[in-house]
């Protein structure tokens, strides 16, 4: 198993990427190809000596797409950017998968451009794992496709179903459509049309769900357009942080609450781990003809390590093959 890691993508590149890559190599035994500026990456690697030099190699790329750059034009102009080079390595099957914590739009553009889409797939979508009060759920799409058609959403449902069955081991995932009410008459014309498509499909479609349902864990795969999903994801992340900040502030207000907080710290730690996105690795870009896992720009080394683990799972479990086969059959059945 060889995984390319975009060494230059993310808020803390290349430091955390190199650190996460070394952790992943040690834990999972994968070979890692760090793609990016050779000098900068070598410098980071030298901080972690000794590391297995035959298992962690550098593939030089002279350019970087910045986090705020316009994705499509950067990908066209910066041919030798780390994400482009990594996507080409994947295209040439020099690696089995790609992990990046860089500009999300650039990753979508580069992989779509160099790898193309799986046969029958109309648009790629990004799926994230959501920790809920009872286990994990999937939210798809969180920003790859901001103006989808109903059939794109149906394909996200199909891909989410496969993700859920093979990676989360749920035999018959419940699929819901994120809307502003549960009745099938709710929402925009786009949503009503999408509801119809899902109702006719062979998915275990439970109908419309609301924002309230996202963290209950009752729905395995929540499908929505990229704008709604992106806002829902970012609102959730920032609210979790805000509640943490407010609680810390309150706990510091008296000696009693400080002692209480000290005694309770194992509970706080357990909660933090439960809701920590870093635990669940990156978000797969589903639909492209190659495994690409996208991490948060602010990913920690643990998040990178876990994204590499997820990439390995996707390769081992042949997720893309399952998607391609299902979509081919779906042409007639869904």
């Amino acid at each position: 198993m060889r995984i390319a890691v975009d060494g230059m993508g993310g808020d803390n590149a290349p430091g955390v990427l190199v650190e996460g890559a070394i952790q992943a190599q040690r834990e999972f035994g994968f070979e890692i190809v760090l793609v990016g500026d050779r000098n900068l990456i070598e410098n980071e690697l030298s901080k972690h000596k000794p590391y297995p030099k035959d298992k962690i190699v550098i593939h030089h790329a002279s350019e970087v797409v910045g986090m705020d750059e316009a994705p499509a034009s950067s990908i066209r102009k910066k041919k030798d950017s780390s994400v482009n080079v990594a996507a080409r390595l994947l295209k040439e099957r020099a690696v089995d998968a790609l992990v990046t914590a860089g500009n999300t739009g650039a990753a979508v553009c580069a992989t779509t451009l160099y790898l193309g889409l799986l046969k029958g797939i109309e648009r790629p979508g990004i799926a994230v794992i959501i920790p809920t009060i009872q286990g994990l759920s999937l939210l798809i799409d969180v920003g790859a496709n901001i103006a989808p058609s109903p059939s794109h959403l149906l394909q996200y449902g199909i891909m989410g179903d496969i993700y859920c069955r093979f990676i989360l081991n749920r035999p018959r995932p419940k699929i819901g459509l994120l809307n502003i009410g549960v009745e099938e008459s709710k929402g925009t014309e786009f949503m009503k049309e999408t509801h119809k498509l899902f109702s006719r499909s062979q998915l275990n479609f439970v109908g419309n769900v609301e924002g309230h349902d996202l963290f209950t864990g009752k729905i395995d795969v929540v499908v929505c357009d990229g704008v709604v999903g992106n806002v829902a994801l970012k609102v959730s992340e920032s609210l979790a942080e805000a509640i943490g900040d407010l609680l810390r502030r309150e706990l510091k207000k008296s000696l009693l609450t400080k002692i209480g907080a000290f005694l309770s710290k194992s509970a706080f730690r357990a909660l933090r781990e439960e809701v920590d996105y870093a635990e669940y690795g990156g978000a797969p870009l589903l639909g492209v003809d190659g495994i690409c896992i996208i991490g948060h720009g602010s990913s920690s080394s643990k998040a990178i390590k876990n994204a590499i683990r997820v990439a390995g799972d996707f390769v081992n479990l042949k997720i893309n093959q399952h998607i391609a086969e299902t979509i081919q059959k779906a042409k007639y059945k869904y």
Copy 2:
């Protein structure tokens, strides 16, 4: 000050409505008109004897719009439903404002039908107060208008600005447009067009903001379409609950953490109050020609009491007059 309360709307009607009305009457001295089934409401009132009978009166309405009924058709068919009757009382100026915790769509339809919109306003929008890590922010629209045009969103910005200036006492509120990235090139064509309109306006427009920014308190008024706002609001509410549930579960796991939780309970209580939607009253339906405050279906009596307080503030501070005047001027300036 006379406020009509839809006594039959909400998950716990008429009990919590009556209770909230009595609390509000005692605390603020307003006269309250409870609209709904006379027998049911009298029965609830009898549990709270003595209450000031000259200050809390019942106005009978024989029908109820259920929480899950289709709004538009219910409002047309159930002429004598509590929300319709209350809207007509407001139309006749028999009351100064209306508070409901019933079917949100029905409240939007009934008030729009009977009261009409303020001159120059194209669509009503629902604004909610969001507690953040530094003070309160406004989110508009959270579900009145699921397929807005850019000019509707601009008007929401203008109305949110007025809400923020007069009710939250901020001289120059920062207005942001909820999008999937901060650059003005981000988002759908609809969002780009909306961004242009805001840029040309006289509002203190800070540009696009992301889901991450909602709970930072850096933006005073966050504007979005009703689908995105509804999902963001409901996701936030359910995540806050989920984190509470998970933390309680963790704190119960050992004697040490139980003791810690006991010592820290004042901090948990303070946090709960800080993020408790019930503290901030209901959400005004901005743009209709009359004050209508919409509460959560699951409102507690405290939430109803606070919604009645907000209704009083809107009347006293002549918010609708300010909106109408600003929109009239805006025709040329915005």
